[in-house]
Structures are given as structure tokens and as C-alpha cells.
Subunit: 567 residues, 2 copies
């Protein structure tokens, strides 16, 4: 392709609103343009990369036995009302009325459409399982669109749905798609982890998220430094074995701690390390009040609290509610003398505390030398805290480290949530009607493109891996006004094209400096520069990512190009 004929509008400056590298570089290198907040156009280079990512996704999904289809973006509200999500999805679901004032949603996801379609056409176990996917534009009205393609309002997704007559069949498909996803992100050259995730409000069973490791990720992953264990931080169980110090128990003592509100303030005031204090937080777990006690250096994990109570809603109680039952505000709560209507649950670590401090349930006072068992009882000890770096890995191998991750994929055992609410059932071998068992599986395709740039860039621009690069070779004619350079470049261009090498030819009447800068920015893996030694038939060959370069005579160029591209 001749660069002079292509729309590749490079910029020297970062766009004002672009906070992260992928956003900055994709705009500056002419891959994308913003049409409105969170809404982007893919220019020719961006579309090329998008297609390459899509093709890898498609190949692996096909291999996994999934069948491609295409559902509409316009979805009648009736379907969303059946599933109940018309009311629960919130303002992220974009809605509109047609000319006859019928309500529609703009597809944020397609569980409703596919479930309605399958229930109309499939009614027997003989036609199950079915695994269907599409690669399609999705719409979500993010409150705060940001980070370019990472959090947009209109974006490209691969979404898949499976239908089964048994959980064994679901498990089998789940594993196949899980493996397909691993293949996809491996082929894309991404440094990623499949992490155990929260199945959340959707009522499903297993779920994994595929996270690309990146500082700009919005999620924290806890992973083992010695195994492939990885989980979303809220999902990692704590398996630390605590030891009880043999320090003799001291006498309980109440002290004034005026104006000391936070754990850190109290610890400093009492002159002990954070871990020598107990932290007590009041939660509303559905309709019940629960005082959750952890060690001062630990954080309460409300997902674990929710799971402990199998509750629907967990939230911090207001200070007003808390004071009403406890007689004290947030800074002075503790597990001693708690009214009967309040559950006291504590993290395992609390059991091993000796001579620690805690709030006295009286504003401005704390107890010293508190000892569980002697000074207070709890309803239950449980794993209630977030895992921390340095904790042992839950799989028993290695130590937990933290990393930030960009969620690019998600596999999810839905179970019968949608098939029950939308009445998608099948007759089993005994002629009995059962709700279909479902799974859903997503990949953020345009987000993956941004994640690639987060992992593949340097200070001068993008450094694409070959299999997703918009072109394989960038051919630069440094000075097209010089006949010998122009002629040599043109002949190399024709040869490469003829040999099937995917080449972008910078034939523009621009200065050499502009061409080099644009080439670095665009990030094509291999660069051929036709410059001063064109007359002798010598050109420069350079690898974008490693910076490795060499002079090559045109007679050997094709061999060398093919060799380097294979590396």
C-alpha cells in the first residue's frame, strides 16, 4: 500500500484528554479518531489491526466448535423485561423509541436475544449442546468513558453463548472455550492471566476473567510467584496459618483516645504497630447488622462477607444506624459488649491476637490488652479479609504478588438464570421439561487492541508483534526527489508485493526525519530504508522492537526479510 494514498494522519502531540499510552499512541499514529466521548472511528490502520485480532478470535472459536452468527443491535424492550434486566441494568443500557413509540435497547450484551431465539427453535435434548458466537458492536453508556478504547461507549465484542442439557456438558464447553481464550491471548502475544472471578449478581457458578497485566488496568490480580494461580483480589481465599504469641495476657484497660478516628491514628497514639489493634466495621447484610472484626493491618473483603451470609446486599451501615445500636461512632467500635441483635464475625487472624487494642464502643475511648475468648466472643470466625502481597498462595505453591490487569475476556457459567426467567426449556430423554443450562463467554475485541499497545510500545511509538501489525514491512524512500532512491524503492515495493509480503510504502514527499518519526510511531515490525547508498543497491533493514539493524544488498533483501519476519 502506498502511504500517500492512505489516510494515516499522524500527530506530534498527545491529545489533551489521553491519559494512557494506548490512547495517546493509537490517536497519534493515526489508528483511531474520537467521534464523541467514548466513541471512536477506526481509521484504515486501526481497522487492519482490528481485523487481525478478530480473525485470531474467529479461528480459535471455530476450532472450539462454536458457530458464528450475527444478532441485531436493536433489541425490543419486551425481551429485557422478561429477563428483568430492563429495570436492573441501569443507565448503562442505551434505550430509544422507534417511530411507533416502541421501546428498544441498544445491545449491551445478547443473552436475551439469543435465549429468545433458541427457545423458539430448540426444544429437545437431541439438538443440544449448541455453542454460538458473534463479533459485533456493543453499546454501553459508561458514566465516565476514558482511556480511549479501554472504556468506551461503543466497542467491538466477541460474545458467545452455549446451551446444554446437563451441567457436565456445560463444564465441558466451558473448558473448551477457556482453552480457546488461552490460545487467543497467547497467539496475540499478550502477557495475561486467567483469574478466578466473582460470579456476582448473575447467580452463575464458575467464572474466570482473562486479564492482561498492565499498570493501567482497573482491576487488581493476586497471583502466585511460583504457580499459575491467579484470582481477582476479592476472590482469593486467605490460607495464612497464624501463630499465637506466648506473651502473657495482660489486664484489660480502658484509655482515652480523643480525636483519634482512623486505625492509623489510634495505633500511632497508642504507640503500637497497626496489627496490634483490631478494626471493627459495622455492615448491613441484607437486613441484619453485622460487626466485622479484622486485624488492624487487614482489609474487610465484603464479597467474602456476602458469601458467608449468602446475602443479596452487603453495605456499610450509616454512622447514625451504628451509633443507635452501639452507642458510639465509627472511630470507637469494638467487639466487647455488643448488643445481642448484632452479629459479631471476625477474620481468622483475630483469633490469634494477644493483648491488642480495640474501640470501647464509647466515643473517644479504646480498650488495651484485649484478648479474644477472654474479653469477647464472636458468632463466627471466617476468612473475611482481602489477601495481601506476601500471603501464601491459596494453591499451596509460592507467595502472592499483586498486579494490575485489564479485563479482556470473561467466561461464565450462567446456569439457568435466563432460561428460567425467559422460559427456554427442553424435553429430556424421559420427555420431561427442564430449563436449558447456559454459559456465556466474552472478549473485548477493541479493548484487546488497546491492551496490545499497552504491552507493545516504547518511547517512540508502537512496537506491534508481527501477527497483529497492520503491515509487516515499512518501506521508506528517504528522498523521493532522488531518482535512484525512488527507483530502487519502487522496485523493492513491487517485488515485495509480488512475493506476498504485506508492505506499506512511504512514498510521500516528506523530510527523512518526518518519515522516521512516523515509522516509529506506527510501529510496523520491520523497516527497510532506501537512502544514500541506493545507488550501490544497499538499503538498511531495522527491527522496530529490538532496534537491531543492518545494511543489506537488494539481492539478499527478500531472503533476509522473510527470515526476520519468521523470528
Amino acid at each position: 500500500m502506498k502511504q500517500s494514498e492512505m489516510l494515516i494522519p499522524t500527530l506530534r502531540e498527545n491529545p489533551a484528554d489521553a491519559e494512557i499510552k494506548s490512547h495517546q499512541l493509537l490517536v497519534r499514529a493515526g489508528y483511531i479518531r474520537q467521534t464523541a466521548s467514548g466513541i471512536y472511528s477506526f481509521l484504515p490502520l486501526g481497522k487492519k489491526v482490528l481485523k487481525k485480532v478478530e480473525e485470531i478470535v474467529r479461528e480459535e472459536m471455530d476450532k472450539a466448535g462454536a458457530h458464528e452468527m450475527l444478532m441485531p443491535a436493536l433489541q425490543p424492550s419486551e425481551l429485557w423485561k422478561e429477563s428483568g434486566r430492563w429495570d436492573t441494568f441501569g443507565p448503562e443500557l442505551m434505550r430509544l423509541n422507534d417511530r411507533h413509540q416502541r421501546e428498544f435497547a441498544l445491545g449491551a450484551t445478547h443473552e436475551e436475544v439469543i435465549t429468545s431465539l433458541i427457545r423458539d427453535d430448540i426444544n429437545t435434548y437431541k439438538k443440544l449442546p449448541l455453542v454460538l458466537y458473534q463479533i459485533q458492536t456493543k453499546f454501553r453508556d459508561e458514566k465516565r468513558p476514558r482511556f480511549g478504547l479501554l472504556r468506551g461507549r461503543e466497542f467491538m465484542m466477541k460474545d458467545a453463548y452455549s446451551f446444554h442439557d446437563s451441567y457436565e456438558s456445560l463444564d465441558e464447553t466451558y473448558e473448551r472455550i477457556y482453552n480457546a481464550y488461552s490460545n487467543i491471548f497467547t497467539r496475540l502475544g499478550l502477557n495475561f492471566r486467567a483469574v478466578i472471578a466473582d460470579s456476582g449478581a448473575m447467580g452463575g457458578k464458575d467464572t474466570h476473567e482473562f486479564m492482561v497485566l498492565s499498570e493501567v488496568g482497573e482491576d487488581t490480580i493476586a497471583y502466585s510467584d511460583e504457580s499459575d494461580y491467579a484470582a481477582n483480589i476479592e476472590m482469593a481465599p486467605v490460607v495464612t496459618e497464624y501463630e499465637k504469641s506466648d506473651e502473657p495476657l495482660k489486664e484489660l484497660e480502658k484509655v482515652a483516645t480523643p480525636d483519634q478516628k482512623t486505625m492509623a491514628e489510634v495505633a500511632e497514639f497508642l504507640n503500637h504497630p497497626l496489627e496490634k489493634g483490631l478494626k471493627s466495621l459495622m455492615f448491613k447484610v441484607d437486613d441484619r447488622l453485622v460487626l466485622v472484626v479484622t486485624r488492624g493491618d487487614h482489609e474487610v473483603n465484603d464479597v467474602k462477607l456476602k458469601n458467608l451470609y449468602q446475602a443479596s446486599v452487603v453495605e456499610l451501615a450509616s454512622e447514625e444506624e451504628t451509633r443507635k445500636v452501639m452507642g458510639a461512632g465509627f472511630g470507637s467500635l469494638g467487639p466487647i459488649h455488643v448488643p445481642d441483635e448484632v452479629d459479631v464475625v471476625a477474620d481468622h487472624a483475630v483469633k490469634y491476637a494477644v493483648n491488642v487494642s480495640c474501640g470501647a464502643n464509647e466515643d473517644g475511648y479504646h480498650f488495651l490488652n484485649v484478648n479474644p475468648g477472654r474479653d469477647f466472643e464472636v458468632t463466627q470466625y471466617a476468612d473475611l479479609r482481602f489477601i495481601q502481597e506476601g500471603d501464601p498462595s491459596p494453591d499451596g505453591r509460592g507467595t502472592i504478588q499483586f498486579a494490575r490487569g485489564i479485563e479482556v475476556g470473561h467466561v461464565f457459567k450462567l446456569g439457568t438464570v435466563y432460561s428460567e426467567s425467559m422460559k427456554a426449556s427442553f424435553l429430556d430423554q424421559n420427555g420431561k421439561s427442564n430449563p436449558m443450562i447456559m454459559g456465556c463467554y466474552g472478549i473485548g475485541v477493541s479493548r484487546t487492541l488497546a491492551a496490545l499497545v499497552e504491552q507493545y510500545h516504547d518511547e517512540n511509538g508502537i512496537t506491534w508483534p508481527t501477527h497483529v501489525a497492520p503491515f509487516h514491512v515499512h518501506l521508506l524512500a528517504l528522498n523521493v526527489n532522488k531518482e535512484e532512491q525512488k527507483n530502487l524503492a519502487e522496485s523493492i515495493y513491487e517485488t515485495l508485493k509480488k512475493e506476498g509480503v504485506d508492505v506499506l510504502y512511504d512514498d510521500r514527499k516528506e523530510r527523512a526525519g518526518v518519515k522516521f518519526a512516523d515509522s516509529d510511531l506506527i510501529g510496523i515490525p520491520l523497516r527497510i530504508t532506501v537512502g544514500k547508498r541506493a545507488g550501490e543497491g544497499y538499503v538498511e533493514l531495522k527491527q522496530r522492537k529490538s532496534g537491531e539493524q543492518t545494511e543489506v544488498h537488494v539481492s539478499e533483501l527478500l531472503t533476509r526479510v522473510n527470515k526476520w519476519l519468521k523470528q
Copy 2:
């Protein structure tokens, strides 16, 4: 692909609302399903065909030097207000508000988005011309969605836009895209015509529509039986040379024609053929009243009237307005004694009328023996009628025939309509600022799929041409309970797959009759039936379209399949 694993829900009955063959067959053969009125899901078979059509479009667009990109469906209203179309597009443009109450359009077309994008990034003739295209979902809220994929509310389009610094450059690109379109529809195997079309309200210059010939088409094409001339019926000029009869002029006479309203009634009442009467219709051309006179057997072409006056709006005057100036209602109008404020224009044929009848501008009366020149004068004679079958072709070769057509493509010289209203300008070689000159080019991709079925079907189902068929070979195991049939079919399936033959294998436990009926319905070009002679290694090979069939021994099967597929 194994049919048992794929979602191909065939139906024996036509859907109640499906009036035409493509709609009926695509639903019955399991290619599409309706999600809402005018909104469809493409099931795996449908998606496969769609992709094949898209790929042919993509290849030819790339060859024509166009570059693929992807613009968003969500388009800020500000852009549509700049072009003026927010107000003029009407209810077909779907609109919505985001969570911040900002207005958006759902892309019905992308002139606004691309023009805004180009004006921000391109400002010099050095970077022109640019030709960009996308294959993308479009939204138009049709008042009456019908005919399945032919007139939907959400559909797949290929739209392209070009930007130029001169009309010569636009002409050159227009011709290239025109040729690309001819290649696309030829490769698709469609019987089509490129017809001269009305550039309408968009103020453009040249425009052609690509029409697939089909009885169910909503447009009428006038084409020559001896040349490649073809035009939308309203665009075809009439070049008929009339002759004046040498019959002596008779005396003007007024007769009562009580209750005779239409031309046909009057002609019958007066006992003369239709062409011996003059038809007079009152139009409002912008703010002017114009009486248009044609021969009784001709129809007024209001596009020609509009072009004659270079008017914005042409519509029939109301009977009330007409009576006010003419003193008579619709059935009794004529060109004799017309008030000065009314223009009288007549079609060329009227000039050659001798002793004809016309309305007397008095309710219930007509004149007989009317002769132009003697009895009335006209402001102007012009080509004002629709062409008719039997008229000479405007290019001087052959005679006009009519056909119905489905519009599948459109090429259009936009000129500077959008670049002027949206201020997309470039600096020319003299440093002078000019509005960019634009072209736009569309193909209805999903509509083309339906048009293919309109041309490729018989009474049993679809008869796909090979290059767009969802599979090339349909392998049927008639009775999978018989080991020898099952084994042979499986081994043929594996061989074909290994050899790269695109095969659908009907491995279902269904009766032979069901398999044959489904196979005919689905319409894969070549069928291999493994049946009773499986034990001897013989199978049946049948061409779906021609019905030609033969028995083949498995040893020769692959050779024969490849030979037949090449035909």
C-alpha cells in the same frame, strides 16, 4: 461441519408475514430469524453467506484503491445539525439521548461523520484524493418494514466516501467504483443493470443505481432491448419523434360530459381512443401554479417537471386551489382560457395533436376538435412524460422495455453539498481554500443476499451459486443407524475436510425424506448421498441447481466433486 452440532432450524411452513420468496426461504431454510419487525438475526448459515458476499465486496473495493475503515453507529446530533439533515431526514433517522441527555443519531449513513473526520485531519490537495469505505450495520426506521432483508430497519451496508481536489479526480474515482460494483455483482452471479438514477434532493451530479432484475423489485427500470442503456423510469428521456396526422382541422365544439371524471371515462363517453384526449393536471411548482398537458395515454413525470423549473418542491395542487383559479374541478381541466397567473406547459406529443378533446374548465363539459396553436397556446413544450414500453431507446439503439429491479448499489457524485455546509476545505496549489469535492457509494450487503435468493431458487428451496453458498458440498448419510452407511459417510467427510472441501455433513438421526427436503431447502450446490449402495462403495452425486445426478464410486468421488465444483 456436522449438521447435528449446528443451528439450522428448518421449517416446513412459510412464515405468515413472508410475502416474497427470499424472505420465505431464508427463514424456512434456517438462515435468518426475525427479532423484531424489520430486524433480523443471521443464524450460522446466514452469517456464512453474508461473509462471503462481504468478502467479494471487500476484495473489489480494495482493488479499486479504497481503504477500509470503521465508523461508529452512534453519531452526535451536532454533526447532523451542521449538515442540516437533523431536521430534514425525518423519522427514518433513529434518535436517542445518552445518560447526559445529549442527542445522538443511529447511523443511517455516514456522510456527516466522515466529513467531520476528514476536515479535521486533511487540509491540503497533497493528501487528496482519499477513498474510504466500511462494511457496517446501518439503521433506518422504515415506516413499513417488509420483504425480510429487502427492506429492514437494521441492515448491513458497504458505504464508501471519496474526497477530491477536482471534478476530474471525482470522475476518475466514480468510474473506478462503478467498475468495482459491476465486478462485484457479476462475481455474485446476479442479473443486474446499472441504471441512470435521479440525483434528487442531494444536489449531486451523476448518479447510477445498480438494480438486480426481479419481479419483487420496488423500482421500474426502462432498458433498451438492443443496447446496455438502462435508467430508472423517471430518468429516461423520451426521444420519440411524433408525426402530425393530415386530417383536416374541425370546428371547436363544447359538449356535456356529465359525471365523467377520469380520462378513461371521458374517452369512452366521447367514443375515442385515450390518445385522442388531452390530460391536464394542475401542479404547484414551488409557489407557482402550472397546468401540465399531456396526451391522454401518457403519464406526467414530475421529476422532469421539477427539473424544467429547477424547483425544490413539485406537488399536485389541491382540487380547492385548482377550482379557485380555473373555475372547474379535476375532471374538467384543459388548456383553453387559462388565467394569466397559471403557466401552461405541454409535453412534446401535445404539439402533434389534431382534433382532440380536452376539459372545458367548466365542470361536466369538454371541448371537442381541439387543436394546439389554433385553440390554445402554451408557455413551453418540453419532455414531460414518463417513457413507455415500445418507445425508442434514448441512446438511439433499440426499443425500451420495462423490468422491475431491486436496488442493491448506488454511486453518487455528491459535489460540495456536505463539504460546504460542514466546512471541509483544502488548500489548492495556489494556497487558495476550496470546499472538497465528494462522492459517495453504497451497497446493501444484506439486501444483496436476499436479491441472490430471489434469482437463485426453485420450488424446493434455494439454489446458491457456488461462490456464495454457505458450503460447497452437502453430505447426507441417509440412515446413520446402518453401520456401513455411517462409516462410509464419516470417511468421506474426513477425506473432504482434509482436502479442503467446504462440506456440511448431515449426520442427524432423521428420516431420509427429512434430509432430502432440508438439503433442497438449504440449497448447497453439490449433494453426496450415502444410501443403499454404501456397502459397494457407491454414492449418489447431485447438482442442486440443474438436478443432474450420477452414481459415483468413492474412489472417484473427490475428482468428480472438484470437477463439478469448478463448472
